[in-house]
């Protein structure tokens, strides 16, 4: 089957947008290339001035020595950082397992919500109720209610493990968000594509599986990754259950020393793992755009 052409989105007029290869790196830098050497020089000077002014303002403030002692204490950092990184693998486990489950559960919900016809009304209603409920309740409450509530039922075979219930809670909450992302992707596929698939003799399911979903999912990869980053950060909410993951480790060292440096160390860990992901999405988008442009010129 030949790759489907863009129908719903008209091609961008060349010249109005920065060239596609400009997206290879960061969108922040793209406008600079158009400006040339003078533009780059101005950008460098203004950046240096802005950062210098901000740094001087912060460092010369009367509270700076206190802040430095409480938030940027080298000795505490050296103690905290390796311990936090060590426990961060527990967060990695939680959000990786949750993400896999989220991608599956959310897709099911999105497909159910997109089912046409009056017969499926109860299913659509349930799916809608699910997404409404779990987007309405704050994540920490879902974790607390499941983490402390579910084991209290004392049902045989139901684990009381914090990690188990944290993964379940995060899956519930994030699959509600991600289902909406998928649904938007599915809705963005022009109905004529479904009609064409049917005309080619594909069944409704076949059309969904091989025509609609592949395009829909590719289109929503950036928002999917955005939600994944959110999920990574919310894995820290498991502390509420008493589990010793990265944030709890930071809190323990903080309360030991009455010093907030461990929080800065943990923030650094999150920054280091999230920023490459954001750049990766930029790269994916750029690649996808180049591909589609190449196809369009065939």
């Amino acid at each position: 089957m030949s790759a489907p052409r863009e129908i719903s989105f008209p091609k961008r007029t060349p010249g109005l947008d920065p060239p596609a290869q400009g997206n290879r790196g960061s969108r922040i830098l793209a406008p600079l290339r158009a400006e040339g050497a003078r533009g780059v020089a101005i950008a460098i000077v203004s950046t240096v001035v802005v950062f210098a002014v901000v740094t001087i303002a912060v460092v010369s403030s009367s509270g700076w020595p206190l802040i430095r002692q409480s938030f940027f204490d080298g000795a505490v950092f050296a103690e905290a950082f390796p311990k936090i990184v060590d426990k961060f693998w527990r967060n990695v486990f939680i959000f990786t397992v949750a993400e896999v489950l989220v991608l599956i559960v959310a897709l099911l919900i999105a497909v159910i919500r997109s089912l046409p016809g009056p017969v499926f009304f109860p299913l659509r209603l349930l799916a809608a109720a699910y997404t409404d409920l779990f987007r309405a309740v704050p994540t920490i409450l879902v974790i607390a209610l499941l983490g402390f509530g579910a084991p209290a039922l004392a049902i045989r075979g139901v684990p009381s493990s914090d990690v188990f219930w944290a993964i379940v809670a995060l899956t519930f909450v994030y699959s509600a968000y991600v289902a909406e992302v998928y649904r938007a992707g599915i809705a963005s596929i022009h109905p004529s594509q479904v009609a064409s698939a049917r005309a080619l003799g594909l069944s409704r399911q076949q059309g969904l599986r091989s025509v609609v979903l592949p395009q829909a999912i590719r289109r929503v990869i950036p928002p999917l990754l955005n939600d994944f980053i959110g999920l990574q950060k919310d894995s820290a909410l498991v502390v509420f259950l008493g589990y010793q993951e990265a944030l709890r480790t930071a809190q323990i060292i903080q309360s030991e020393n009455f010093d907030f440096t461990p929080y800065v160390a943990l923030a650094l860990v999150y920054v280091v793992i999230t920023i490459p992901q954001a750049r990766f999405v930029d790269w994916l988008i750029a690649r996808d755009q180049r591909k589609r442009q190449a196809e369009a010129t065939l």
Binding site: G63, L66, S70, F148, A154, D162, F240, Q244, I252, F258
Partner: protein, 300 residues
């Protein structure tokens, strides 16, 4: 305390010389041995250092937990469980006595403000003269705040519920295989890790209520807390709760009031505490509020 001695010496200088109170304490390191000062004189001299003029502003946790605070809730007050200005419970009675000795009539000249644990040591201007909420002195913590002398020497204990595998334990070794918990910000976690050295990783909770819930659920089998709190939990919070036992006293752990770094009031409160230890008032307060809450078998 070394710092407080220095401040104390400086105070003696300033108060005998009747120097104006705007002279920043500690700016001039000249020391002379002055006559001993009373807590009240000290507070008068340093009235300018008060958070709010003419009153002593005291921070504590909210809810105000027994047996440290007693007397119940008062309508219209933001404090839960117990009203600090009643001056009841161990910490309540200590504050009332310290305030009186500093020359602040209790409760009229004392204001209580709720302080979250982290707020107690966050950098910057603190909204209280001192905070007391079962904060243990630790040398590492001394950099962020200044501590008073001990107002309570702490022993840690383990509390559980009837029917758990550790309810009848008499030795530390018997606790080793149990899943245990402790509230964060306390030294109880240190006891679990250093003394018990459990085979399962302990849970660490934001507050006691969460630990109690996990104990009820059977997710954990015991909670390590300070001894008086253990008695409160066993009697009130945990159904069929038992204080399994207390740990061998670690002589260096004590609760202290925490002050903004460099506060001259540390010396005044220390003087008041020394007076109270000298004349037996502190012991009397302990007998009144903690008498039935310190008698647990020591775990071998």
């Amino acid at each position: 305390m070394r710092k407080s001695l220095l401040v104390l010496a400086l105070l003696a200088v300033t108060s005998t010389a009747c120097a104006d109170t705007t002279t920043p304490i500690g700016s001039d390191p000249t020391t002379t041995t002055g006559a001993p000062v009373s807590a009240e004189d000290c507070a008068t001299t340093n009235a300018g250092a008060l958070e709010s003029g003419g009153v002593l502003t005291v921070g504590t946790g909210n809810p105000a937990f027994p047996p440290w605070w007693e007397g119940g809730q008062v309508e219209g007050s933001e404090f839960e469980f117990n009203e600090p200005s009643l001056g009841e419970g161990y910490e309540g009675a200590v504050v009332a006595e310290v305030a009186d000795r500093l020359g602040f009539a209790f409760p009229d000249a004392v204001t209580f403000v709720p302080v979250g644990f982290n707020k107690a040591f966050a950098p910057g201007d603190k909204p209280f003269d001192f905070v007391l909420q079962q904060i243990s002195y630790k040398p590492q913590r001394d950099e962020a705040v200044d501590f008073s002398e001990s107002y309570y020497d702490v022993n840690q204990a383990i509390v559980s519920a009837e029917g758990t595998s550790i309810a009848g334990a008499t030795t530390v070794a018997e606790l080793r295989d149990a899943k245990l918990g402790a509230p964060i910000g306390t030294t109880s976690l240190d006891v679990i890790e250093d003394v018990i050295q459990p085979t399962q990783e302990p849970e660490v909770y934001d507050d006691l209520a969460l630990a109690v819930q996990d104990l009820k659920n059977g997710s954990i089998e015991g909670v390590v807390v300070d001894l008086p709190t253990a008695f409160f939990m066993a009697a009130v919070q945990i159904p069929k709760g038992v204080v399994v036992g207390q740990f061998e006293a670690s002589s260096d752990e004590y609760f202290a009031m925490a002050f903004e770094t460099g506060s001259p009031l540390v010396a005044c409160v220390d003087l008041a505490l020394q007076e109270m230890k000298g004349d037996g008032t502190l012991d009397a307060i302990a007998r009144e509020w903690l008498a039935d809450k310190t008698n647990a078998p020591v775990l071998g």
